[in-house]
């Protein structure tokens, strides 16, 4: 996962992994370090999913309280720290959307309008450069499965929800997405 030569990304990743280890031991200062290193990134994630600044701030509090509780479960051999933190942020933000019944009624294509920025080179180094593949692999899908998978990831939309929004039978939506997912797995490799 590490890039071949030492880089700023490697350093940041190592600092973050080390801080998470200290958080697991109950070090509040280490949690502040994790916060300082990641708050802007995770705020971006939360805001993107919640689409509401106040909600994103509330979600951010939950995210770092979860990090405090769960840091002992972080395993650097299985995930990069920023990927692990992103997953917590994404899931917490999605939970917030769902708890508010915010399955937005915009058409599925709206997910395409989300800024499709790629992470900066530094962010990718931190996350492990191989993981950038998800962007290329998703790009290679046909438009319908791609839009639906993005809507699931960013809006927490379920099969019935996606099928209703696209006005297609549930079976059709499942078939689109499942074929897309298999194509993705083929592109990403077996890990």
């Amino acid at each position: 996962m590490a890039s071949p030569t030492p880089s700023a990304g490697d350093g940041a990743r190592a600092r973050l992994a080390h801080a998470l280890g200290e958080v697991a031991g109950g070090d509040r200062k280490a949690l502040k370090t994790v916060y300082d290193l990641t708050a802007a990134k995770l705020m971006g994630v939360c805001l993107r999913i919640c689409q509401d600044r106040e909600a994103a701030e509330d979600v951010m509090q939950e995210v770092y309280l979860k990090v405090w509780d769960r840091a002992g479960r972080f395993d650097a051999s299985r995930a990069s720290p920023i990927t692990w933190l992103c997953t917590i942020a994404r899931n917490t933000a999605i939970d917030w959307r769902r708890s508010r019944g915010l399955r937005d009624t915009a058409p599925v294509e709206a997910a395409l309008e989300l800024p499709d920025g790629r992470p900066s080179a530094d962010a990718l180094l931190e996350a492990g450069e191989t993981q950038a593949r998800i962007f290329d692999c998703l790009e290679a899908l046909e438009e319908k499965p791609r839009a639906a998978i993005r809507a699931a990831f960013f809006h927490g939309r379920s099969y019935p929800d996606l099928a209703a929004a696209a006005a297609v039978p549930l079976g059709t939506m499942k078939s689109w997405i499942r074929r897309g997912l298999l194509q993705l797995r083929g592109c990403l490799g077996d890990g």
């Binding site: 509040r28 708050a39 705020m43 997953t87 989300l114």
Partner: protein
């Protein structure tokens, strides 16, 4: 309509559906049960989660508002004393050990109230997460009877006996007694301990002297640990 998926494709797609949150209702419940019961499937789900995660990094960074850290800090549990720090370390070790040695223990708390979740038929093993080697236990709690059914799947050979602990979030380990060195054991959980079997608590197994069990505290690092999951 496209032809049906092959079984291995079915598993890959189902793992991704669970990772993305596409499923609802009984489909979701069935996939979660499988995630608990089928280690290979659980690994496939985790792989998808980690593969998708970088998508979230695609947006711009946004400065967190001033004062947000102070709001978080105010909600942290009170300043830890030495004993609490030691316990957090112990829990962290319990969990890290489980990840490193891939020794895990899972418990299902069966809620007495009707749930949209359809529980499996009376199971031999309801929940099990195992890895490559070492100790593996599965536990299921029957809240109505106050009975914990623990099945020992695998255990390192030892002259000592496996003792089961419940560690509430932020609390200290409480012994639930010895579990079987192999096979099943049904344990009646003392009424005072039943409320400890809640989501977020950790179950752990340490190797202890059988003659003096149950103990006030563990004497060594856990050989298995896992979080309680409520379905």
């Amino acid at each position: 309509m496209a032809e049906p998926l092959r079984p291995e494709e079915e598993e890959i797609a189902l793992a991704a559906e669970l990772a993305l949150g596409l499923l609802e209702g009984e489909d979701l419940a069935a996939a979660r049960r499988r995630q608990l019961a089928d280690p290979a499937f659980a690994v496939a789900v985790e792989r998808w989660v980690l593969d998708f995660a970088p998508l979230a990094l695609g947006g711009a960074d946004v400065a967190a508002p001033a004062g947000l850290w102070e709001r978080i800090e105010a909600r942290l549990p009170g300043e830890a004393h030495g004993a609490v720090v030691a316990l957090r370390r112990w829990r962290a070790t319990a969990i890290a050990t489980s990840a490193a040695a891939a020794v895990l223990l899972a418990i299902l708390l069966l809620r007495p109230v009707p749930q949209p979740v359809v529980l499996p038929p009376p199971p031999v093993v309801v929940a099990q997460i195992t890895g490559t080697a070492g100790a593996a236990f599965a536990a299921r709690y029957d809240a109505e009877q106050g009975t914990l059914h623990v099945r020992t799947e695998a255990m390192p050979s030892s002259r000592r006996a496996p003792e089961l602990w419940v560690i509430p979030a932020g609390g200290k380990p409480v012994s639930l007694g010895l579990v079987a060195s192999q096979g099943n054991r049904d344990m009646t959980v003392a009424p005072a301990h039943r409320q400890l079997l809640a989501e977020g608590a950790t179950l752990a197994v340490t190797m202890e002297d059988a003659a003096t069990a149950p103990h006030a505290g563990p004497s060594g690092p856990p050989v298995a640990a896992g979080k309680i999951t409520i379905l």
